[in-house]
């Protein structure tokens, strides 16, 4: 039974060991080992969880009067495996990108935090590990830039307080903290209705902000671009791959614990559950807004940060649909987003490590210099853009099926626009970084180091495997969702549509064969340099850069200039400014330095206490 504990605290212990003996070789080995342990334990538990007689593994420890329950059921196993997969890839990435043991300590601490969040069975453990995770990631961002970490810290604190108040209300009403009893109590309460409608709405709103901040839903996504880009890029693979999934797990928790109660309280509108309709629209707006922002970015890290926010929007949308098909789509997208976004961030880590640049205008023509990284980024591009034989498409297809069959057309329309935007900014990344003339200072760029390549390979394989055989994931998810998606391992069959991934892959290979035949049949090709291009007859020289890397989508910015005037970032900065001025006003007002006013304050306070009869 204490394997759960080993799994949970192995990364934390490894982190401390790595931090303690700060030796180049050993620190990396301990770190990677620390991340491998949870993956091993989870693999061992697969047979018990998903085997013939699934039984839940629980472990309770009492800490200072609070009884912490840890449980490993199908959902938590799924989320924990994704997080540990990304964790292992991050560890391999950090072997070559991070130089200081400070980063190893806090990376592994946030890894323990996420595992704790997924495994905890009650709100105390959930909140403790949630805070551990936020603290560790805050420290990682703090190392690189104060402003971004401050922004991240303030928003996370708001989220944490919201969750704390919501837990407090639930504890006051139900008297228990572990999920089982809360679920039972709220289920019963849905009929009796002892908790008032407005109180349930308040709790829902608080949980919405708490999990929205971590997942990065639109109004609260402001910290994401800054935090994701100011951190060692291979840690961002974990930061955006696994930590944002904690937010999605929170929303799922909302359904499990308070689903019945929320439906009873907030009612049904046009046969959609009102609270899930809100989450669906929150996801849809996140997809579109973050997509448009991602397309117009100039910095490679900002682009992928907004893209992460947009993809998590897909997950929220999938959860918001509410039908079992919607859940399957959302949870499959949790896996595919974690995998292809992790791969993207490792590619960015390789680029930043090798070239030291982050803006698009400094990159160019790296395809020859870093071929393997280019191949990996091509796989990630195909997956994110949702090209059929890849994992990205399978999950997106499920979300489309769920959205349209649940009669949420405008939300499905938002996904159409979102996936086109994903296609646009991914191709912009390909063009700006890999193709075109190479700036002179990038001549001596070498291929990414071996550990980073291993990390990328770890994440590239699931992309293809789950792309061609999506049935594996939907069959596992079907265990606790009442398998809405039929079909065997390579074919998804839903009541309204089918998708045979293997056949699409086979026919694509068949089509490529025909096209390749025509290509080979044609005349011999002669390789020519980049400068031999048609510039309406003008001779082209190496040192005048002819590629459009800056403002690639300037016409789109012009078409959207009405909307681009408003920005959440500036809104929050102004809010912060107002708060600061109010605080200054108060400070001048009270602490004005002369003793008489202090004496007066004392007298007034004593008078109030006397009247109150406390004195």
């Amino acid at each position: 039974m204490n394997e759960l504990m080993i799994m949970l605290f192995a990364p934390l212990v490894a982190g401390f060991i790595a931090w303690a003996l700060d030796v180049r070789g050993i620190r990396e080995a301990v770190g990677v080992l620390g991340t491998l342990v949870p993956l091993g334990v989870l693999a061992k538990y697969y047979s018990t969880i998903a085997g013939s007689n699934p039984e839940v593994v629980t472990q309770t420890i009492t800490v200072g009067g609070f009884k912490l329950i840890f449980q490993l059921n199908t959902i938590s196993w799924y989320f924990a495996t994704i997080a540990s997969l990304i964790g292992v890839a991050m560890a391999f990435g950090m072997v070559s990108t991070s130089r200081s043991s400070y980063e190893w300590l806090f990376a592994l601490m946030s890894y323990t935090g996420v595992l704790g969040v997924f495994l905890s069975g009650d709100f105390v453990g959930f909140f403790l590990f949630w805070e551990l995770m936020t603290f560790a990631s805050f420290m990682m961002v703090l190392k690189r830039s104060r402003h971004e970490s401050l922004k991240y810290f303030v928003l996370s604190v708001i989220g944490a307080y919201a969750m704390l108040i919501a837990i407090g209300i639930l504890y006051a009403k139900i008297g228990a903290l572990d999920f089982g009893t809360i679920r039972q109590a709220l289920y019963m309460d849905a009929m009796l209705g002892s908790i008032s409608k407005s109180l349930t709405a308040l709790v829902f709103l608080l949980f919405l902000t708490a999990f929205g901040v971590k997942a990065g839903a639109v109004p609260l996504h402001v910290w994401a671009p800054g935090a994701y880009s100011e951190v060692d890029q291979s840690y961002t693979a974990f930061f955006s791959g696994a930590l944002s999934k904690a937010g999605a797990y929170g929303f799922l928790l909302l359904y499990i614990l308070m689903g019945a109660k929320l439906v009873a309280a907030l009612g049904i509108w046009h046969n959609h559950m009102v609270f899930s309709y809100i989450i669906a629209w929150l996801g849809a707006i996140t997809v579109v807004v973050a997509g448009f922002l991602a397309v117009l970015q100039e910095d490679i890290r900002k682009l992928f940060a907004y893209s992460s926010v947009s993809q998590v929007g897909y997950i929220l949308l999938g959860l918001g649909i509410g039908t079992p098909l919607g859940f399957t789509g959302a949870l499959f997208h949790v896996l595919s987003h974690a995998v292809f976004k992790g791969l993207f961030w490792l590619v960015v880590a390789a680029l930043v490590l090798r070239t030291g640049k982050t803006r698009f205008e400094d990159f160019g023509g790296l395809a020859e210099k870093m071929p393997i990284t280019f191949a990996m980024s091509l796989i990630a591009v195909l997956s994110l853009a949702g090209i059929p034989p890849m994992a990205g498409f399978a999950s997106k297809w499920l979300i489309y099926e769920a959205a349209i069959s649940a009669h949420m057309p405008l939300v499905a329309g938002a996904i159409f626009l979102g996936s086109a935007l994903a296609f646009a900014y991914v191709v912009r990344f390909l063009y700006a970084v890999w193709f075109g003339q190479r700036p002179s200072d990038l001549e001596d760029v070498k291929e990414a180091p071996l550990p980073l390549l291993i990390g990328m390979a770890i994440l590239a394989i699931p992309n293809i495997v789950f792309g061609v055989a999506p049935g594996l994931v939907t069959e596992y998810l079907g265990k606790f969702l009442g398998n809405p998606v039929g079909g065997n391992y390579y074919k998804l069959v839903t009541p309204t549509g089918t998708y045979n991934a293997l056949l699409v892959a086979v026919l694509l290979v068949f089509g490529l064969a025909i096209a390749g035949l025509i290509f080979i049949y044609g005349a011999k090709t002669r390789r020519i340099p980049v400068t031999n291009t048609y510039q309406s007859g003008n001779p082209v020289t190496e040192d005048y850069n002819l590629s459009m890397r800056r403002n690639f989508y300037r016409p789109l910015a012009e078409a959207l200039d009405f909307w681009l005037k408003y920005s959440w970032d500036r809104f929050y900065e102004r809010l912060a400014g107002i708060a600061e001025d109010f605080a200054d006003f108060l400070r001048e007002g009270f602490y004005n330095g002369n003793v008489q006013s202090y004496a007066w304050y004392l007298a007034v306070v004593l008078l109030i206490l006397a009247l109150w009869g406390v004195l």
């Binding site: 005349a523 340099p529 400068t531 048609y534 007859g537 003008n538 001779p539 020289t541 005048y544």
Partner: protein, 196 residues
């Protein structure tokens, strides 16, 4: 453009697909794409060819802005050294069975500008010409007649300007370098950098 080594250009061997050659010859004859790059004063003669009166599209001829896809290169009128540089670069970008149609007497011997310092006197020294049409700017009918000549030449395999260019490439290259000086492509590209 980076310096083109001689052997890299010549190493290409003329592999003739015996089986499909007559089919390709018929296809080349029936679909000529004109590179939309009017070099001289006769460029204004090309649009009327595409209008309802003459309509070269019924012979499968289509103006095509990309030289990589073009076959027929119209040298319409006098050729100044500046334009000749662009002509040479565009001509070398065109894919292989390519034909050149020279309008008027200027490409032949400098014509009216025979003694002008910036008109190329004999275009044939720099790029091979397949058909030359008379007329100080030949009318649309004359241009159409020229195109018919080229089609007839393709039919009986005489239109081998591109083969001539490929076989005695050094001679053409020597003339070009003699006029513009060695490595003129790099020099010219860099010369415009100051302006951009």
């Amino acid at each position: 453009m980076s310096e083109r080594k001689n052997d890299e250009f010549i190493s290409y061997e003329l592999k003739e697909f015996k089986l499909f050659e007559p089919l390709f010859r018929w296809a080349r004859k029936k679909s000529l794409w004109i590179v939309a790059f009017c070099t001289g004063c006769g460029g204004i003669e090309m649009p009327p060819l595409a209008t309802a009166r003459y309509d070269f599209e019924r012979f499968g001829i289509m103006p095509n802005p990309a030289p990589r896809m073009g076959d027929l290169f119209l040298i319409t009128g006098y050729v100044t050294p500046k334009t000749l540089k662009r002509i040479i670069i565009t001509y070398e970008m065109m894919q292989d069975p390519k034909y050149v149609l020279a309008h008027g007497s200027c490409p032949i011997n400098g014509g009216v500008y025979w003694d002008s310092y910036n008109v190329v006197k004999q275009l044939d020294k720099y790029i091979p010409i397949d058909v030359a049409i008379a007329g100080c700017m030949p009318r649309a009918e004359a241009v159409m007649q020229g195109i018919m000549d080229i089609i007839r030449k393709i039919e009986n395999g005489e239109a081998d300007g591109w083969k001539r260019y490929r076989e005695n490439y050094e001679w053409y290259r020597k003339n070009q370098d003699e006029l513009f000086g060695e490595g003129w492509r790099e020099k010219d590209a860099k010369r415009w950098l100051a302006w951009l």
